[in-house]
């Protein structure tokens, strides 16, 4: 999958799914630069967990690959792959490539 595919087919729909569960009507900004983690993040910690799980679910449905995005490497990385939608998409592309080659 290309980065654009990952953003549009995995991350953005998952963001809409999360937005629908938040209190009150909320529209979460969906751009590659949108910050997901740390200062200026659009999500709190529980919503970020929900996003990661929702994307994992979409990957399983689309590809049948059982991947765990919150793995050892992601959680111990100095630069979090969950920083922005763009870094998240790049990280997903890498995980998918590795899973396909396994």
């Amino acid at each position: 999958m290309t980065l654009v595919n990952i953003l549009e087919e995995l991350i953005y729909p998952a963001i809409d799914e999360i937005a629908s569960t938040l209190d009150g009507p909320q529209k979460l900004l969906k751009t590659p630069e949108t910050v997901l983690f740390g200062r200026g993040a659009i999500l709190d910690s529980v919503a970020l967990v929900s996003l990661i799980i929702a994307v994992e679910g979409r990957i399983a449905e689309k590809t049948g690959l059982p991947v765990t995005l919150a793995n050892e490497r992601a959680m111990s990385s100095k630069k979090s792959p969950f920083l922005t939608m763009q870094t998240f998409a790049k990280y997903i592309a890498q995980v998918l490539l590795e899973a396909e080659n396994e």
């Binding site: 679910g57 399983a60 059982p66």
Partner: protein, 235 residues
């Protein structure tokens, strides 16, 4: 009118003993039951599917949950029953036994809870029941490793109950007294008598005592019951 989808119940350690009883009990109650154990089951039942997997092998666990997602689209209940005991004095307990007990009882419970919650979250409903033991509150000599592993299961239960509450998932634990299963076959009659004497009701647990308590945790009406540990027999 469309039929309501069946409740899907996953039970670990279902090949024999308490796990098998629970599998048969929930099939009789109309659930679709998926059972897991290291070895294939030597019995079968309509409405029951057995999968051979090591509960502490992450890759195998991910494959198992991938199969459940594909076949059923979600999961209603998880009963973490798989357990290994090591009844031995600390001074004569090999490290390998410690690792084996913690792998099955703690790592296995953790992995199944984590992956089950992911499958339960989209429907905003889920029930998780972890099997604990009275050996933990009774602080039984000769069961240091087993009791410590189940103390970890109790802590996982308390904290996961808080972490999963926003997703409509309850997490509780059930601590049976000695039950007539393979797990306690190595315990001497004298020791067993002394152990039962510490209970308010000094008898072994029946399998029905266990399924009765699990039924309570799984009920839709038990949505306000979470983070609890229920010990049988008045411990």
């Amino acid at each position: 009118m469309s039929e309501r989808p069946p409740l899907v119940t996953l039970i670990t350690g279902s090949r024999k003993g308490i796990g098998r009883h629970l599998a048969e009990h929930y099939v009789r109650s109309g659930h679709v039951v998926i059972g897991v154990s290291r070895s294939p089951a030597d019995w079968s039942l309509s409405g029951y599917e057995h999968i051979a997997a090591d509960v502490s092998d992450e890759a195998a666990v991910l494959r198992l949950f991938g199969h459940i997602r594909k076949k059923f689209g979600g999961l209603s209940h998880l009963i973490n029953n798989a357990g290994v005991a090591s009844m031995n004095h600390t001074l004569t307990t090999p490290l390998q036994s410690v690792r084996k007990v913690f792998d099955t009882n703690v790592v296995g419970t953790f992995l199944f809870c984590r992956e089950a919650a992911k499958l339960m979250k989209p429907s905003h409903f889920g029930r998780i029941v972890n099997l604990a033991t009275v050996a933990t509150p009774l602080k039984l000599e000769g069961e240091a490793v087993y009791a410590a592993s189940k103390a970890a299961v109790v802590t996982l239960t308390h904290i996961m109950a808080k972490e999963f509450a926003p997703f409509g998932i309850t997490v509780n634990a059930l601590g049976p007294t000695p039950t007539d299963t393979d797990l306690i076959r190595a315990v001497s009659e004298e020791k067993l008598k002394a152990l039962l004497g510490k209970q308010a009701i000094p008898r072994m647990a029946r399998l029905e005592d266990i399924s009765n308590a699990v039924d309570f945790f799984l009920k839709p009406e038990s949505e306000f019951i979470t983070g609890q540990v229920l010990y049988l027999g008045g411990v």
